[in-house]
Symmetry: C2
Subunit: 393 residues, 2 copies
């Protein structure tokens, strides 16, 4: 087994496991430290969590599936504390370095997994995505990443944050491997994701102009290959209403899921995470109720539209990775803008694949393809064709 | 059998037929004089056509189906010559009067059928629609009308104009009867048409501002009942590209269908019709070829989008009925603007129902609902609910 130096600080622990023949034979992988690996304490990014939990009695379903398929597990990777953050910062274990932009955040919460893949330490890595935790770091670090359809892949044996949004997800340096992992984890069947492309105008407008401009040639390339994109404003009240709905619901669920532990343990929480839990505790019931209405509406809007194979296309993130020195206010501004787009697939439960389609001043930015719930396999296949068309390998 | 005076000049002939028990028992109807009725010469709106054709050996499929269902056929109604015109003018037999706006055109080519229903002379009437020949007169005369999915209902025994666009269609004064006729004529099954509503922005922008403004409250009412409408720009190159594609293809097909007869017979043709046949003869093959490409593209765009039940909504016509005194140039301007919207359902083969949703200075204007091919029954049901919501009876 090859040894390597974890010079980006991606890993929490390295206890190799598995590696054999199978569809992922010969490939190495890492897993975010919120999935159980039998016999190890799942740390969930927070020392008090680790201290108050026993070693896992079994491994998470996805971990077992990947081990069964012959992949060689290298170890567990860092996560933002309780997966409740988007920059990838972890003040307790150190923030993994963004291998493509060392003075910038790697993105999170799947920060160690994205860094491990981007640095070439493993072939692919498992993360999880509630509000962007795979999509955003993939965009920041120039990787392919997928947030599958909600509920398509079991989260048994994984720590929860907001169960109606939580999904696993994974990163790879090329679209072929992203699909190959999907072939192991995803259920068979599912609908098409074959076009037409639909440009979600508000999501393009929501991006920084330099990001939209950098991604425009990629969209043009996809249109040349797959036909011109239609344009859709999918939300009468604007993406801000989706973001607000997402925030209220995610907060309510996060407190329902983790509030007891937070109250009983009074854990030390890093900056940002602490405030987010305080806000989660205090979310107004009317806000969450409004959020549920918006969520049902978004599902009623988008699912019929995508059922025939249409695919939404928009910038994964409104901006490249923020500087490590970004102020708390700047980080919150980025978070608010980002959730305007991540909440689309989040609220509707749709699969989203991000492609490292462009750079802005040398910094990676991703382009997302979003299909109907259940179309994950077709979407990964489309993403591979798109990567070919765009010369992304 | 009740007698009546045809004071709007709707009828070509009145040879009553049928009338019995069945789903349409007790209802009277009329049929556009391009459908065969056994033993009668089908006139197709032109004296030279009538002169050169024998009495029909059998009745058109739709005529038989309506007779079987118990409806009492009152007679045959006027049509624009060879169905090749949109105002409803017929210089040989007289232009039927628009009962809702006597100084204006009734719309066509199904001009007699629309006038007969609008004047209350029959309960419903059969027309045909190639490029708007049911939808436009329904809008002009304040009726409900449907152009079904292309190919859903047999046109055997009907005169053809452009077969890949030709459909039958019918008019009624209320949405319940429109649906009731559909229950007799349409095949069973078919997809949903349940929303979301999609406002086709370009079609609203294409309408005269007063028409768009008059229909806005109706859209608002539908949104309150069925949920907010998304907005879609369904054609990257604008609706003008659809219109041009439609015109080239319709012309090419019209010449392929009727050119031999026109050449052999050298019929006298009324103003406008004559010029349209001349243009049809001379349509450039490259134009038609481009049109075919656009048509395939429009189908690839719209069908997947609507497959899940989404319904396009836009003004049926960009304007109310033109004045009878409108110049040829003004008529052509209206025709060009109108084909921008009628070509959407036309090129994609989609069913379109128009509702008499508003008035502009007392003149009726229609609002269209357009569903996926095959969703006709669901669309008629939705239209009935919409009529209820909007208080259209």
């Amino acid at each position: 087994m090859a040894q390597f130096t974890d010079d980006v600080g991606a890993f929490m622990s390295r206890n190799p496991l598995g590696g054999g023949s199978g569809p992922l034979g010969g490939l190495s992988w890492a897993v975010k430290d919120l999935f159980d690996v039998k016999g190890e304490v799942t740390g969930y990014g927070n020392p008090d969590w680790a201290r108050t939990h026993r070693p896992a009695a079994g491994s998470a379903q996805v971990v077992l599936a990947l081990l069964d398929s012959g992949g060689r597990l290298v170890g567990k990777t860092k996560t933002v504390e309780l997966a409740f953050g988007m920059t990838g910062e972890n003040v307790w274990y150190g923030t993994p370095r963004n291998p493509r932009a060392p003075d910038r955040f790697p993105g999170g919460s799947s920060c160690g997994s994205v860094a491990a893949v981007a640095a070439g330490l493993v072939d692919f890595a498992l993360g999880s995505d509630t509000g962007g935790s795979v999509r955003i770091p993939a965009s920041y670090c120039g990787l392919f990443g997928i947030r599958p359809s909600h509920g398509a892949i079991s989260l048994a044996g994984a720590c929860a944050l907001a169960p109606s949004f939580d999904t696993p997800g994974w990163f790879a340096r090329d679209a072929a491997l992203l699909e190959q992992v999907g072939a192991v984890l995803l259920p068979g069947g599912g609908g098409p994701a074959a076009g037409p492309l639909i440009k979600v105008t508000e999501a393009w407008d929501n991006a920084e102009p330099a990001v939209a401009a950098a991604l425009a040639p990629a969209l043009k390339g996809l249109e040349e290959a797959f036909g011109p994109a239609l344009t859709l404003a999918p939300v009468p009240d604007g993406l801000g209403s989706l973001r607000d709905a997402y925030r209220a619901l995610q907060s309510e669920e996060a407190w329902a899921t983790l509030g007891d532990w937070v109250t009983a343990t009074q854990p030390a929480l890093g900056p940002g995470v602490k405030e987010r839990f305080a806000a989660a505790r205090d979310v107004a019931p009317e806000q969450a109720s409004r959020g549920r209405t918006v969520r049902r509406q978004v599902q009623a809007w988008l699912r019929p539209l995508l059922m025939g194979g249409a695919v939404l296309v928009y910038p994964t993130s409104p901006c490249p990775a923020p500087l490590l020195t970004a102020s708390a206010a700047e980080q919150e501004r980025v978070r608010l803008a980002t959730q305007c787009v991540t909440s689309i697939a989040g609220l509707a439960g749709l699969p989203e694949v991000t492609l490292p389609a462009a750079r802005v001043d040398g910094l990676p930015v991703g382009l997302s393809l979003v299909g109907e719930a259940g179309s994950d396999r077709a979407l990964l296949s489309l993403a591979k064709r798109a990567a070919g068309v765009l010369g992304l390998g």
